[in-house]
């Protein structure tokens, strides 16, 4: 084995003597902070909230449809009913 080969071999073997590096002392805190921050963002749009909002929308739409159908019917009825009354009420004008 010549000098260069020996050098290469020693360089390759140098990895065997490498120990694990020490973790920066505040890494754990930084991770927790990041996760809590991220979790806070997530909690703003929790699934429960989404379901509640969806339920509210459904109820509102339902109420709108109900009122639309119900009140349009009564309006038609009232219009139908109002005509004979009006005719009768203003009949004195036409009669006179």
């Amino acid at each position: 084995m010549n000098t260069k080969e020996k050098q290469i071999q020693e360089t390759l073997e140098s990895i065997d003597s490498i120990s694990r590096a020490e973790v920066p002392f505040d890494l754990g805190n930084k991770i927790l902070q990041r996760v809590q921050k991220q979790n806070g963002k997530i909690s703003l749009i929790k699934t429960k909230m989404i379901w509640r909002a969806a339920a509210c929308v459904v109820v509102l739409v339902g109420m709108n449809i109900f009122s639309l159908v119900h009140f349009s019917k009564s309006k038609v009825e009232s219009l139908e009913n109002s005509n004979p009354i009006a005719t009768e009420y203003f009949s004195y004008i036409t009669n006179s």
Binding site: P24, I31, R34
Partner: protein
């Protein structure tokens, strides 16, 4: 605390359990990232990303692999993503430098990375070795770092990389061959 209990508490979103997980795995995650990205600040950043990902995805962990395998997989993926982002930036900076933009740092052939775990008498050698490791293809680098720096078995590396045991053996063999070539070139160049 056993692994199953830890996982179930993590799935419930327990911060105390997450603290335990950080204590148990921060050294492995940080060292894997450090070996891959070869920069202390970047390794710290990748470690944070890894644990944030774990916290988010633990609900999807089905327990098909060991928890450590799953965490190593995330660490490797995040490190590779980081390297790809960095390389894209480097390429963009290089293209910019071709068009005469000022203030762009030149791409270094050999980074000046000193692994904190390298022994004093091996500092220079390990610096050269890590520069060579940086030039390996992604899968060879992953297999080599996990085995040589982290001491992960070939079987677990196969599970982490979702490949076969023979593929890992082949990756290790090719990584060593490529490293020898790269070191040969380096020492030839520096002898002149």
């Amino acid at each position: 605390m056993n692994e199953e209990l830890l996982i179930s508490q993590l799935k419930e979103g327990s911060i105390a359990a997450f603290n335990l997980l950080i204590d148990e795995f921060k050294v492995s995650v940080y060292n894997t990232a450090l070996g891959m990205v070869q920069n202390v600040e970047d390794a710290e950043d990748v470690s944070q990303e890894v644990f944030a990902e774990i916290f988010q995805s633990i609900k999807n962990f089905k327990g098909e692999a060991k928890l450590s395998t799953w965490i190593y997989r995330i660490a490797v993926t995040k490190s590779l993503e980081h390297l790809r982002r960095k390389n894209r930036k480097k390429r963009f900076a290089f293209v910019q430098s071709l068009f005469g933009n000022e203030g762009v740092t030149p791409i270094k052939d050999i980074p000046n990375f000193n692994h904190a775990g390298a022994q004093l008498e091996n500092k220079e050698r390990s610096k050269v070795l890590f520069a060579a490791i940086e030039k390996l293809p992604e899968n060879q680098k992953t297999a080599f770092i996990l085995h040589k720096v982290e001491g992960v078995s070939y079987q677990e590396i196969a599970e982490i990389m979702k490949t076969s045991l023979s593929s890992v053996e082949s990756l290790q063999f090719r990584a060593k061959q490529n490293l020898q070539k790269l070191l040969q070139e380096y020492y030839d160049k520096n002898e002149k």
